[in-house]
């Protein structure tokens, strides 16, 4: 899903609200804002925090250490640590197996600060394959016009559709 830089945060919130209203639990992979602040923002917008859990790649990078809270948040050392992130996705999906789950990845554009487009493409390919195998829905947020044509083409082949909110 493509959004303007100014609306991507609200896009995140609106999506989670809609996903929760449809009875799904959302796993937010956040590379931008720590889970604690996102939780606060979601609560203010009337989203039940019990309907959201996190893979947080921000907090540990900032404060140095953070302990996982089962069912709430799993921390990843660094946004560029794709191995750890991949393991976290696998394990969280295992924990929530049997539930209706949706993964929200916020955002590909932030990942480009830390990773090359080729590494990101490979990781998204891995995640989308995993989601298909486990029959889980996934949404990847990106800043519109923020992905070069080649990366956009590659990512388009991995997903079922591209939604431009701009």
């Amino acid at each position: 899903m493509l959004a303007t830089p100014g609306s991507i945060r609200q896009c995140n919130i609106d999506l989670i609200r809609e996903i929760a209203e449809n009875g799904f639990h959302t796993i937010v992979i956040t590379t931008n804002f720590p889970y604690s602040i996102l939780t606060k923002l979601y609560q203010e917008q009337g989203i039940d925090p019990g309907k959201v859990s996190f893979i947080d790649a921000v907090t540990k990078n900032s404060v140095g250490s953070a302990r996982n809270i089962p069912g709430v948040v799993r921390f990843v050392n660094h946004p560029s640590d794709l191995t750890e992130m991949g393991i976290a996705v696998t394990e969280v999906l295992k924990e929530l197996s049997g539930k209706k789950v949706c993964i929200l990845y916020d955002s590909i554009s932030t990942m480009l600060i830390y990773l090359s487009s080729s590494n990101i493409s490979r990781f998204i390919h891995f995640v989308t394959n995993k989601l298909r195998l486990t029959d889980v829905t996934g949404i990847f947020l990106a800043v519109e016009k923020g992905l070069d044509p080649m990366l956009m083409t590659q990512l388009t082949t991995f997903v079922d559709s591209v939604i431009d909110t701009g």
């Binding site: 830089p5 100014g6 804002f33 720590p34 604690s36 602040i37 990078n61 600060i113 990366l151």
Partner: protein, 245 residues
Amino acid sequence: MDKKRPLRHATIPHEGKKPKPAETFASWLQPVVDCSPIPQFVIGRDHCIRFWNKALERYSGLSAAEMVGTSRQWQAFYQQERPTLADVLLEGKTEEIAQLYDGRYNRSALIEDAWEATDFFPQVGKKGTWLHFTAALIRDATGEVLGAVETLEDITDLMKAEELIAYMTEMAMRITQPVGIIRENLQDIARLTRDGKLVPEEIAMLLDTQVRNAAQIQANVEEFQKSAVEKHQEIPEAYRKFLSG
């Protein structure tokens, strides 16, 4: 001369003068190959060089006199003996093309039995050269293979332009866009702070994250600059030092 295959007679107008009767197709062949500005060579079924044109002489530094009659066509491109595209076609081993040219090849859209490939040749030129080459089988009127012709085109400048586009695109994605993200994040942090929605520890964590993002962007720029400096030896020393930090 093969009596079964008579030579074709070509008539060449010379500014209103009568055509020279003795000119034949065969007598045209050497000049046509030699005068072509495109480097090319022709090998027979025995893989020996029949023609090695002037453009290829100048390009490779290897004269026709030393090359014609030999099967050392590989010497213009490689340090060790290996088949050229023309050699592969003559052997009918087109399945080897994929191994030799690693995805950068395709069948010609224009000519049957012709293939094209692109490769980088580190030992050609001062810093290596990108060449796009085509090879085709030469057949007589009955379809019998007589040999193969291979032509070359130096596409180093084109590849450099493509590299430059890839480089600038990556710069745009990894620097311009991320700076925009930091700007938006800081605006959000300012708004949330003004609205009293953040405690000091949270403000510090958010700002710290943006500082780390900025540091990473700076590291990205330095990495790009260093890589560009290493690749382009022609950059003057004073600028090399500045760009390398």
